[in-house]
């Protein structure tokens, strides 16, 4: 019975930790690690204060639905903005970032100002990391309290299970982050846009009482769906641009021949 509490808390908390850590990783890779870690630590501190103050009453006092709605709404705004920019770059509506040139220019500018490069706190990175860790951390606290309130010393056992899940997710994440940093900037922003939009849809939907099919696994299906639609949009915009370009060339051709005739 006691092992059952530990294992159940471990499994349930793993899902929440993976969700939180994914967005911390995203903030670290796309913005900078300082902002991401500051956001995550600030969220852990907030969680510690909330849990120390409210204790078990947390389950009844924090309106998790409202929190999900606010965070989901903000993630949708951020996610769609990133996705839109990435789609525009892929389809040729916007120029692709020349990452190395931009990096070299930023490096030179920062050195000229005597600043350390890439370590300044970025509000977006801090906020993204903070809100994901806060929301998922609260959900882990809810899991620990609900799984642990059944038996004697249950909360302690559930907390051990959740803590083990947290350590495992952080270790795996630390191994995964190095290869992720080699992905080109626009590809990464495209993936991040899809992920933020997916999490935003999922959480804001849950706040309206939507029970997504397959529970948290639905996140993967939703991300795949958004990916397919985004690729279709890129293709459609590219084709539209090409048609527009060939129409312009065709309309310019008679004008050029008329000019030649006049010259003759």
């Amino acid at each position: 019975m006691q092992w059952a509490i530990v294992i159940a808390a471990f499994l349930a908390a793993s899902v929440e930790f993976v969700e939180a850590f994914t967005l911390v990783l995203v903030a670290g890779i796309t913005v900078n690690w300082r902002s991401s870690i500051v956001g995550a630590l600030a969220a852990v501190a907030t969680l510690a204060v909330i849990i120390a103050t409210l204790g078990v009453a947390l389950v009844t006092l924090i309106p998790i639905g409202v929190l999900r709605f606010v965070i989901g709404f903000l993630l949708l705004l951020f996610g769609l903005k990133w996705l839109k920019n990435a789609i525009q770059r892929y389809s040729g509506l916007k120029f692709l970032h020349d990452e190395e040139a931009i990096y070299a220019a930023n490096l030179a500018q920062a050195r000229a100002r005597g600043e350390a490069v890439g370590t300044r706190l970025d509000p977006f990175g801090v906020l993204l990391s903070y809100k994901s860790v806060l929301l998922e951390g609260l959900e882990v606290a809810f899991i620990v309290i609900s799984f642990g309130s059944g038996g004697s010393n249950g909360i302690g056992l559930a907390a051990i299970g959740a803590a083990a899940a947290g350590v495992l997710v952080i270790l795996v994440g630390a191994l995964v982050q190095a290869p992720l940093q080699r992905i080109p900037e626009n590809t990464l922003k495209f993936i991040v846009g899809i992920m933020l939009t997916t999490f935003g849809t999922f959480w804001s939907g849950e706040s309206f009482g939507i029970n997504w099919p397959f529970s948290d696994l639905f996140l993967l299906l939703l991300a795949a769906f958004y990916l397919v639609v985004s690729v279709l949009l890129i293709t459609a915009i590219k084709q539209h641009q090409q048609r527009g370009a060939s129409a312009t060339t065709a309309s310019e051709a008679p004008t050029l021949s008329q000019e030649k005739e006049v010259r003759l």
Binding site: L77, L80, K81, T197
Partner: protein, 77 residues
């Protein structure tokens, strides 16, 4: 007044920066809230998830459509 406007603009640019996205997502949330809270719309509650996903995609298509039109207008000019 100028400072307040600048603050509002900075907050808007940080969180959204795109009016079509803000309006699209807000409208989707209002529709979901109406279906969720108004009793007369209860039969639609089974389709809340679908409405949310369609709303998100419609917003994305609308904002990209605006960018395509902008780019065409620039080329014409």
């Amino acid at each position: 007044m100028n400072v307040i406007l600048k603050i509002i603009l900075a907050v808007y640019k940080f969180f959204v920066g795109d009016l079509v996205i803000l309006l699209g997502i807000t409208l989707t949330m209002v529709i979901l809230a109406l279906i969720h809270f108004v009793g007369a719309l209860a039969p639609l509650r089974g389709g809340l998830g679908l409405i949310l996903i369609v709303g998100v995609l419609a917003t994305l298509v609308a904002t990209l459509g605006r960018e395509v039109m902008r780019s065409e207008n620039k080329q014409k000019a």
